[in-house]
């Protein structure tokens, strides 16, 4: 099911306190959008994206804990954000904000100027596409932290959701935390809760599946003629041969991979109303543009 939330894709701005890096250096790296101290004061702070180990919950060798902000952008698309990111994560933060069309500022480590500049140039060069987000289910936002954490876990599992203020007839699954179907005490374990929702939805019915990694989160946008899939790799390693399954029939496409250029989609298969393909190489971020086959 296709949602109605529209995002204006924008590049994040970069804060350079007291000109430590310098406008010339930033400019040479391709970083043109700078923000001021006053800009930052009005923004909501975000954690640095990536993966981390959390005792008892996940381990880096099995399923790492992903720190991702997509659910926040989806929940509050009008909010302005600021990342204060350690060295090595600025490019990923920029990609994450871009993927969700978030208005974000970046406070970065000077060591990241080059890699961030490369990412911004990549983002700037992408074909301009503005499509509505695709969602499999709706979640009624009561503004609570519990609901936020459920959104976080849904996003991490690539369970695409739309935030609504009341249950929507457009969706088979509407989650209202506190309803008999979705008790608040169950939501206290958001991971198990997200798994319950996944099983209710069924994997076959999901608009997006990712195989070959547990640390890639996707954002899918589409209309009847085309689709754009953003893939954000929160792990530190490149991934080879990531397999994607999208509900719907797509005849062709290309993957724009940050740092790697355009990549062909490999081993394409269409079966049971879904399209599968592999991406030869995924760095920290890729955008895949697809053309839908006309419905017969």
């Amino acid at each position: 099911m296709t949602g109605v939330l529209l995002f204006v894709l924008s590049l994040p701005c970069v804060y350079d306190p007291a000109g430590i890096v310098g406008r010339a250096t930033l400019g040479a790296a391709g970083i043109e959008r700078l923000c001021t101290e006053a800009d930052l004061a009005r923004r909501e702070a975000l954690p640095a994206p990536g993966t981390t180990a959390r005792a008892g919950l996940a381990s880096p060798t099995r399923i790492p804990w992903i720190v991702a902000n997509g659910w926040r952008f989806t929940r509050q698309p009008g909010t302005k954000y600021v990342y204060d990111v350690p060295a090595g994560t600025a490019a990923l933060a920029a990609a994450e904000a871009f993927a969700y069309g978030a208005d974000a500022a970046l406070r970065i480590d000077p060591a990241d100027v080059q890699s961030l500049g490369e990412m911004l140039r990549f983002l700037q060069a992408l074909p301009s596409v503005d499509l509505p987000a695709v969602s499999d289910l709706a979640i009624v936002d009561d503004g609570s932290a519990t609901t936020g954490e459920v959104m976080n876990l849904l996003a991490r599992r690539n369970l695409l959701f739309e935030v609504v203020t009341a249950p929507s007839p457009r969706f088979r699954i509407n989650i209202t935390i506190g309803d008999p179907e979705y008790p608040r005490e169950e939501a206290a374990d958001p991971s198990a809760f997200a798994l319950k929702i996944r099983r209710r939805l069924t994997d076959d019915q999901r608009a997006l599946r990712v195989y070959g990694s547990e640390v890639v989160i996707g954002r899918l946008t589409a209309d009847s003629g085309r689709a754009r899939l953003h893939l954000i790799n929160y792990g530190r390693r490149e991934i080879e041969g990531l397999r994607i399954r999208l509900r719907g029939v797509y005849s062709g496409g290309v993957a724009h991979v940050a740092g790697a250029g355009p990549q062909p989609l490999q081993d394409r298969v269409v079966e049971s109303g879904a399209t599968e393909f592999s991406i030869p190489r995924l760095t920290s971020y890729a955008v895949i543009d697809l053309v839908a086959e006309p419905k017969r």
Binding site: S191, E240, G241, Q266
Partner: protein
């Protein structure tokens, strides 16, 4: 050949089959476009038949070193006894033709003390070349390149033998060495990546496979023998089946081994029991749990060998006062605590599933009933 250079074209449209063994086992969906051979390699031409060759002189137990000439003799005698052939070359010709592309599935997980022996692997290669298989059509394979690098078969093999892995290391980032159209799909613990794909080498290149496992204990499966080595060593993303004290290996080991084309192409099982591991497996980082059966078993039936292996590991554990591989008591479980497991042979980190061997028999992979297994014992 580099793993990326395999042909990437997809085979014919895949066929899917879903099944669930029991209500307490997960639903499995098998997707493969490959048809079984007229006589699938497993259980092959000799179901329920095992040849066991033992030699006290095969390994110097004070150093762990194997004696190449004794091992060669054990190999020759075993192959002739299994097939009834008059010569060793004729024995090998029963399984492999010169036009075949042959994979040798080794086991490197027990480095440094218990891996597929250089002497056995080298003899297999020697025999294959001897019956006319081009050296460039012989592949020694494992899942992880870093393990192959550690074991380093290169100095022991003729130049030109291909040594191939699907992934650089066990990091879940290299998928290109696996076939996207041939996989088992199941969700065990809520993981997102629900597929285990067969290696491209197996589906696209090899026509025959020779399996060389070791005699080892295994924390999740009870033992790791023929079935576990060929199954978990030929598919991606399999560690997800066992964690947090629970193992789904009961059904998954057999289900993977039974998938085509792996089942049809795996024509020979050579169980390397020169050395063994009775606890802490599949690893052997210390000699503490290493023992020396000094034995090689030959069969086409992986279930029959693994049925014998269950008794071998159990007997050795009992001799050391260790708990049974069949023990399912929660009191001995220290979930995911590998240090405790390594320190104490009466600690389980997962409830083991040695029943995976019997389950594999229900898939037609071989004979589990001990009374129906014939063992021909030879001594060198």
């Amino acid at each position: 050949m580099h793993r990326r250079s395999f042909v990437r074209l997809l085979a014919a449209a895949p066929l899917a089959r879903s099944f669930q063994v029991r209500s307490d086992t997960p639903a499995l969906r098998v997707v493969s476009s490959y048809s079984p051979a007229a006589t699938p390699g497993m259980p092959g031409r000799h179901p329920g038949h095992v040849v066991s060759v033992t030699s006290d002189r095969s390994v110097d137990t004070s150093t762990g070193a194997a004696h190449d000439d004794i091992v060669r003799e054990m190999m020759a005698r075993g192959m002739r006894a299994l097939t009834g052939a008059g010569t060793t070359a004729d024995a090998w010709r029963r399984f492999v033709e010169p036009s075949d592309v042959v994979g040798i599935k080794v086991n490197c997980g027990g480095y440094p003390h218990c891996v597929s022996a250089y002497e056995i692997v080298a003899d297999v290669v020697r025999q294959l070349i001897g019956i006319g298989v081009p050296v460039s059509n012989i592949y020694v394979y494992e899942r992880f390149q870093n393990q192959l690098d550690e074991v380093n078969y290169v100095p022991h093999l003729p130049h030109g033998v291909q040594i191939v892995a699907a992934e650089r290391a066990n990091r879940n980032v290299d998928n290109s060495g696996y076939d996207p159209a041939t996989y088992l799909e199941a969700e065990f613990f809520g993981e997102e990546d629900t597929r285990s794909n067969m290696m491209r080498l197996v589906t696209r290149r090899l026509t025959k496979i020779i399996n060389i496992p070791n005699m080892k204990d295994h924390g999740a499966t009870g033992v790791t023998g023929c079935l576990k080595n060929i199954a978990y060593g030929s598919f991606s993303n399999v560690a997800r089946t066992h964690q947090r004290g629970k193992s789904h290996t009961l059904s998954v080991v057999g289900a993977l081994a039974a998938m085509e084309p792996l089942r049809s192409r795996t024509v020979l099982q050579i169980m390397d029991g020169l050395r063994g591991v009775w606890h802490g497996g599949p690893f052997a980082r210390t000699t503490r749990y290493v023992f020396y059966p000094r034995q090689i078993m030959f069969a086409t039936d992986p279930v029959a060998i693994d049925r014998l292996l269950l008794d071998i590991i159990e007997k050795e554990r009992r001799a050391h006062g260790a708990m049974s591989i069949w023990d399912r008591s929660p009191g001995s479980l220290r979930m995911d605590d590998t240090r405790a497991r390594d320190a104490d042979p009466n600690v389980n980190i997962i409830i083991r599933e040695p029943g995976h061997v019997e389950y594999a028999a229900t898939l037609g992979l071989g004979v589990y009933d001990r009374a129906r297994i014939t063992v021909k014992e030879l001594t060198v």
